[in-house]
C-alpha cells in the first residue's frame, strides 16, 4: 500500500468534507478556465472574421455599430450610403480592394447580404456544391443555413424585410439557391449571399442605388493614417477600423471580466483555506493513525509527505474537475448561444490551462503545509501513552 492509497482512503472516509472541498476548488478553477477559454475564443473569432478587412466605410454614426453590423453581422447597420460615393472611394489609389455590402433582409433569421464576388475572395469562401450567383435572385447560402433550414441547390426561399423578423415577407420574388458554401466556422456559415442587384431589384430601387457599407483593404501602410482621416473629413461617410473597435469592445467587456476573474481567484483561495481547515481539524482525530503508522515503521518524512499529498490530491482533483466543468459550461453556452458569430467551443484546450492545474496543486500543498509539519512533529511515545 503506498502513500497515495493511504491518503485517498482517508479522503474517501470523509465524503462530505471531500465533496465540499472539491466543489469549492472546482468552481474557482472552472470559472477561471471558462474565462480564459471564452475570452481567447471570442477574441480569436473576432480576429478571424475581420482578417483582411482593414477598414469599414459606412453611414455616419457609431463606429462600433458599423463594424459590428458589417463585419460580424451582429448589430443593426448605421444607415445607407450611395453607390456613387462608394464607387468613388473604391477608386481611391490608397484602396487595394473594396467590397460593397447591402444589408436589410433576412431569411429565417439568417442575414441576406448583397455583395459582389469580392466578398467570397476576401474570406476565401469555397463552394461545397452548386455555383455562385449569375442572375438576379440567385443566392449562395452558408453551410449552417443549409443545414438548419434543410436547403439544397434549386430550392426557392422568400426573404423578409428587417434583420430578424419573418413578418414582412418579400412574397413577390423568391430567391433560388444555386450554391452552398463549405463550412469554415466563420460568419459566412450563417449568411445568405447574393448580388447587390438582387437586393436592389427586391426592393424596387433600380434607379437610386444605395448600399450599407464597404469593406476596404489598404494598398499601402500610409493609407492606415490617411484614408480614415480622408473619409471622415471629406465624405458623407465614416470609417471604422475592426481592429480598433474590437479592442474597444474588449476594453468595455474587460471590467466585467476582471470582476469575475477576481471573484474566481478569491474562490480558489477560499478553497485553499477550506482544505487547510479540513486537514487541520482531521489531524486531531488522526494523530493516533499517524502515530501508529510511525510505530509500524513509517518515518517522519513519510508522514509529512502523506499529509502534503492529501492536500495536493484534493486540489488536483478539484482543479481537474473544474477545468472539465469550465469546458462543459462553455460547450453548453456555445450550444445555446444566440450569436453564432463567435460560437464558443468547449472542446478546444489551451496550454495555459496547465497553469491553472499547477496553481491548484500549489494551493493544496500550501494549505497542507502546516498540518503536515504538525504531523511530522508528532511524538509517538507521548501520543500512545495518553490514550
Amino acid at each position: 500500500m503506498n502513500a497515495f492509497q493511504i491518503s485517498w482512503k482517508n479522503l474517501k472516509s470523509n465524503p462530505l468534507t471531500l465533496a465540499l472541498n472539491l466543489l469549492l476548488i472546482a468552481f474557482g478553477t472552472g470559472m477561471l478556465a471558462m474565462l480564459l477559454l471564452g475570452m481567447d475564443q471570442i477574441g480569436g473569432r473576432l480576429r478571424e472574421n475581420a482578417s483582411g478587412i482593414d477598414l469599414v466605410a459606412g453611414a455616419k454614426g457609431s463606429p462600433l455599430q458599423l463594424v459590428l453590423s458589417s463585419v460580424y453581422f451582429i448589430d443593426f447597420p448605421t444607415g445607407n450610403i450611395t453607390e456613387a460615393d462608394a464607387r468613388l472611394l473604391a477608386a481611391n489609389p490608397m484602396v487595394k480592394k473594396a467590397v460593397p455590402l447591402a444589408l436589410g433582409d433576412n431569411y429565417a433569421g439568417f442575414r441576406i447580404v448583397g455583395a459582389d464576388t469580392g466578398y467570397a475572395s476576401l474570406h476565401g469562401l469555397e463552394l461545397a456544391s452548386g455555383r455562385f450567383w449569375m442572375r438576379d435572385f440567385e443566392i449562395v447560402i452558408g453551410a449552417e443555413v443549409a443545414r438548419e433550414e434543410n436547403l439544397k441547390t434549386g430550392d426557392r426561399i422568400y426573404g423578409s424585410h428587417g434583420l430578424s423578423s419573418e413578418e414582412d415577407l418579400h412574397a413577390d420574388h423568391p430567391y433560388i439557391v444555386t450554391g452552398i458554401l463549405k463550412k469554415q466556422k466563420k460568419v459566412a456559415d450563417h449568411l445568405v449571399l447574393t448580388s447587390l442587384e438582387s437586393i436592389w431589384a427586391m426592393h424596387g430601387a433600380m434607379e437610386k442605388h444605395e448600399i450599407t457599407s464597404m469593406l476596404l483593404q489598404y494598398r499601402t501602410r500610409m493609407a492606415m493614417v490617411a484614408l480614415p482621416a480622408m473619409i471622415n473629413r471629406s465624405t458623407a461617410m465614416q470609417a471604422a477600423s475592426p481592429a480598433r473597435e474590437s479592442a474597444r469592445l474588449f476594453a468595455l467587456l474587460g471590467v466585467g471580466v476582471e470582476t469575475v476573474r477576481w471573484f474566481a481567484v478569491a474562490l480558489m483561495l477560499l478553497s485553499g483555506v477550506s482544505v487547510f481547515v479540513s486537514l487541520y481539524n482531521s489531524l486531531r482525530e488522526r494523530v493516533y493513525d499517524l502515530a501508529i503508522m510511525r510505530v509500524m515503521g513509517a518515518s517522519r518524512g513519510i508522514v509529512l509527505a502523506m499529509i502534503l499529498l492529501e492536500g495536493a490530491l484534493l486540489t488536483t482533483f478539484g482543479s481537474l474537475a473544474g477545468i472539465l466543468l469550465g469546458h462543459g459550461a462553455l460547450q453548453c453556452i456555445g450550444y445555446w448561444q444566440g450569436s453564432p458569430q463567435a460560437r464558443l467551443d468547449g472542446l478546444a484546450f489551451m496550454p495555459e490551462e496547465g497553469w491553472l492545474l499547477l496553481a491548484g496543486v500549489l494551493i493544496g500543498l500550501v494549505a497542507a503545509l502546516l498540518p503536515a509539519v504538525q504531523a511530522y512533529r508528532i511524538d509517538i511515545s507521548q501520543t500512545m501513552s495518553k490514550s
Binding site: 482512503k9 503508522m293 515503521g297 509517538i380 511515545s381 501513552s385
Partner: protein
C-alpha cells in the same frame, strides 16, 4: 535478544527515573509488572524504540536502538518489533485486512495476503476481514491490533496493558493468543500489566517487576 543497561529517563521536572538492567533471551515470554504509573509504559516505549532514554542503551537483536539514525530506527522498529497497545487504534478509513496490509508495507516486506489470512484465522477473525474498525467490538478490535503487531513475524513482540479495556473472557483470550502467536513465530514476548487476571493466566516463568516503592520514592523527591 533484548538487553537494557543503566536505562534512565529524565522528567521535565528535573528528576530522573532509573530502571534496573534487564536481559531477555530469544523466545522467552515475560511479564513486566508494577502498579500503574510506576514506569512500565515508559520502559516499554524505550524497548520499542519510541522513546529515547536520557542515558543507557537498549539492544534488540544485537542492534543498539538509539545508536541508529532516526530513519534507520523507524525501519528497524517496523521490521523487528511488534507492539500491542492498550487501545488498538486501528486506522478508521481502512478495513481490517487493509490495516494489516498497511503494516506489511511499512515493514518493507510487501503485501502477503496469505500471511494475513493465516494470522486472522489464528485469531478467529477471518470473517471480519472486510469490516471497518467501527464495526468491530472492543475485543475484536484488540485482536486485530494483535494481528497487526505480529503479521510481520517480529523478533520482539511488546504488549502494553493489552487487557485493560477488556472483559474477563476477552482478556483471557488475548493473553492466550499473544502467548501462542509469539511462540508460533518464535517472537520474544514482553507483556506489561498490572492486571491480576493476566498474572494468574500467565503460566510462564519470567516476571520482571518494577519496584513500586523505589520509583514512587524517586518521584516524590521531585
Amino acid at each position: 535478544m533484548l538487553q537494557t543497561t543503566s536505562l534512565t529517563k529524565a522528567f521535565a521536572t528535573g528528576t530522573t527515573l532509573h530502571f534496573p538492567d534487564w536481559n531477555v533471551r530469544a523466545g522467552e515470554q515475560w511479564l513486566l509488572l508494577g502498579e500503574s504509573g510506576c514506569g512500565k509504559t515508559t520502559l516499554l516505549h524505550m524497548l520499542a524504540g519510541l522513546l529515547k532514554p536520557a542515558r543507557g542503551n537498549v539492544v534488540v537483536n544485537a542492534t543498539d536502538l538509539y545508536a541508529l539514525p532516526p530513519r534507520e530506527l523507524d525501519r528497524f522498529r517496523g521490521q523487528h518489533i511488534g507492539i500491542v497497545f492498550q487501545q488498538p487504534h486501528l486506522i478508521r478509513s481502512m478495513t481490517v485486512e487493509e490495516n494489516l496490509v498497511l503494516a506489511q508495507s511499512f515493514t518493507g516486506a510487501g503485501k502477503d495476503v496469505s500471511r494475513i489470512r493465516e494470522v486472522l484465522g489464528a485469531l478467529d477473525m477471518g470473517h471480519k476481514r472486510r469490516s471497518y474498525p467501527h464495526e468491530l467490538s472492543q475485543g475484536q478490535a484488540q485482536r486485530v491490533g494483535i494481528a497487526r503487531a505480529i503479521v510481520h513475524k517480529p523478533a520482539v513482540l511488546l504488549a502494553d496493558e493489552p487487557t485493560s479495556s477488556l472483559d474477563n473472557r476477552n482478556a483471557d483470550a488475548v493473553i492466550r493468543l499473544l502467548s501462542e502467536l509469539a511462540a508460533s513465530t518464535g517472537s520474544t514476548l514482553v507483556i506489561s500489566t498490572h492486571d491480576d487476571r493476566v498474572k494468574d493466566a500467565f503460566f510462564k516463568d519470567f516476571m520482571f517487576e518494577l519496584s513500586h516503592e523505589r520509583i514512587s520514592d524517586q518521584l516524590e523527591k521531585s
